[in-house]
């Protein structure tokens, strides 16, 4: 049993080391070669288009269910569904928006990135990049990292808007809260630090999804089966790490009063 645990830890450490090297290589190429701007734009559009509708739908219904549950619970305790807008907005902007968006993006765009790079790896296309004078990190990984870092916070912002709107629909039409009251509750207690809290999280999650998905893709071995394993592995790793990291980020950001 200890051997198995040892092997697992060794394998995990190897992957962390490999991913760290890849990030270091990205920084090297960022400073030493022309940035692949066309690739960055293409990837940003792909990630945005791929994930927008899914993140919007997820957030819309999350906002709706938050309003419904929150409104009913508060109504049962205080007699009136008060501060529903505040509850929905705080939950979304500080917590659920960044987490759910990152989870959805890892399952949609992240999986696509791993599958694409993984297929290139098993068909020697990554080796072909080397022989044609470039580097997979420079040509494929760096633009995708940048695209995730740009797209995830942006999609999180949109997803927050959809969530707040979902809450509005339920608050006004199901709970009978006047629209003005809901909107006042939304903005009343919201400060810049709350936006920063959510933004920093989404930025870190973007980095995490990009690193895991690109690394899993680049390190793919073993034909079609390998591509499948890498893709599944990338998504599972992303989801677990997003949830784990979320706790520690919340603890750190709260300690810094953000």
């Amino acid at each position: 049993m200890f051997t198995a645990i040892g092997k697992m830890v060794d394998n995990w450490m190897g992957q962390v080391g490999g991913a760290t090297n890849m990030v270091r290589s990205c920084l090297y190429w960022l400073g030493h070669a022309r940035f692949e701007f066309k690739q960055f734009i293409q990837q940003s559009v792909t990630i945005g288009v791929d994930s927008f509708s899914v993140t919007a739908m997820t957030s819309l219904f999350t906002g709706m269910v938050l309003a419904l549950q929150g409104g009913n619970t508060i109504g049962n305790i205080f007699g009136d569904p008060i501060y529903v807008g505040t509850l929905v907005t705080f939950s979304l902007i500080r917590e659920l928006g960044p987490v759910l968006t990152a989870v959805v993006i890892s399952g949609r765009a992240g999986a696509a990135v791993t599958a694409h790079i993984g297929t290139m790896a098993v068909t020697e296309q990554l080796d072909a990049l080397y022989t044609l004078g470039t580097n997979p990190t420079r040509y494929l990984v760096l633009p995708r990292m940048a695209a995730f870092l740009f797209s995830v916070p942006l999609l999180t912002a949109f997803s927050n808007l959809f969530g707040v709107f979902g809450g509005y629909l339920v608050a006004v039409h199901a709970l009978g809260i006047p629209g003005e009251v809901y909107m006042t509750d939304v903005t009343a207690f919201m400060g810049v630090k709350d936006f920063m809290h959510g933004f920093l999280k989404s930025f870190v999650f973007g980095f995490l999804v990009a690193t895991v998905c690109c690394y899993k893709g680049v390190s793919t071995r073993g034909g079609a089966e390998g591509v499948g394993k890498s893709t599944t592995g990338a998504v599972v790793t992303c989801i677990v790490m997003i949830l784990v990291l979320d706790y520690f980020l919340t603890a750190i950001l709260t300690a810094f009063k953000i």
């Binding site: 030493h32 694409h116 068909t123 020697e124 296309q125 072909a128 080397y130 044609l132 004078g133």
Partner: protein, 253 residues
């Protein structure tokens, strides 16, 4: 000239190349023969730094290029070599034209406006019509993929092309066409070629020199005539394509 001295390559505990010594003459076609899994691809991948050798030396015109890590120096080495992958390794997400032009951006000073001209010229060199440039790699047959891949290599004007099983998976006529292309590159452009193949017919047709890799070492190096006349039982068995002989016996041990 490329000189390989005492080259070694291991994958964990498994030593694939034990002590490879080989000279590759400029402007000639050198073919490396050997059974599956003997390390032929590993050898040429070490030459172009797709793999790092565990020991020994690779000298390019007298300069040791075995352990170069600086990306700029690596780019210079890669400009010297072109690599034709077994399955072509064409980029699926690009058209044939973009594939052919890909290396121009990184390895040459040719301005972007000239790319269509270069694409047309290189496709013509491998016997393909200019219209092929608009196709996607998935629309090409095996032979066409190999030719497009060769056009992509030729676009960067390498001094030496490494061919990884260029005729594998092709019908005999297409195999012969690819063999003719290799010879054409040698005669017209003076390109040095290192070819890995199992196809003895093609090997005898194109090669100036042959090397037989066995058990991590070059067992025999010589001209096609030397290989035809050799009484080395290992080489004899391989050249004749016989299931009976020391190679099989060795496997049974």
């Amino acid at each position: 000239m490329i000189e390989i001295k005492h080259l070694q390559k291991s994958f964990g505990a498994r030593q694939v190349l034990r002590d490879v010594n080989l000279k590759i003459e400029d402007g000639k076609v050198t073919t490396i023969l050997g059974g599956s899994g003997t390390g032929k691809s590993t050898l040429i991948k070490c030459m172009i730094h797709l793999m790092d050798a565990t020991g020994g030396q690779i000298l390019l015109n007298g300069r040791d290029i075995t352990r170069v890590t600086d990306p700029m120096r690596l780019a210079v080495i890669r400009r010297h070599f072109g690599y034709l992958f077994q399955e072509g390794a064409l980029f699926d997400s690009m058209t044939v034209g973009d594939n052919v032009a890909f290396g121009l951006r990184y390895l040459t000073e040719i301005p972007v406006e000239k790319y269509p001209e270069v694409i047309k010229e290189k496709l013509a060199m491998v016997g393909l019509e200019p219209d092929v440039a608009k196709l996607n790699p998935s629309e090409l047959s095996g032979g066409m993929r190999k030719r497009v891949s060769l056009a992509r290599v030729l676009a960067i004007s390498p001094k030496c092309i490494l061919y990884d099983e260029p005729t594998t998976g092709l019908d005999p006529i297409m195999s012969d066409i690819i063999s003719d292309l290799i010879l054409e590159m040698k005669h017209k452009l003076g390109i040095t070629s290192v070819v890995i193949t199992h196809d003895m017919r093609s090997a005898f047709k194109i090669s100036d020199y042959l090397a037989f890799l066995y058990d991590g070492r070059i067992m025999l190096y010589g001209t096609p005539d030397d290989f035809r006349k050799t009484d080395n039982p290992y080489v004899r068995q391989f050249v004749d394509g016989s299931s009976q002989g020391p190679i099989k016996m060795r496997l049974r041990d």
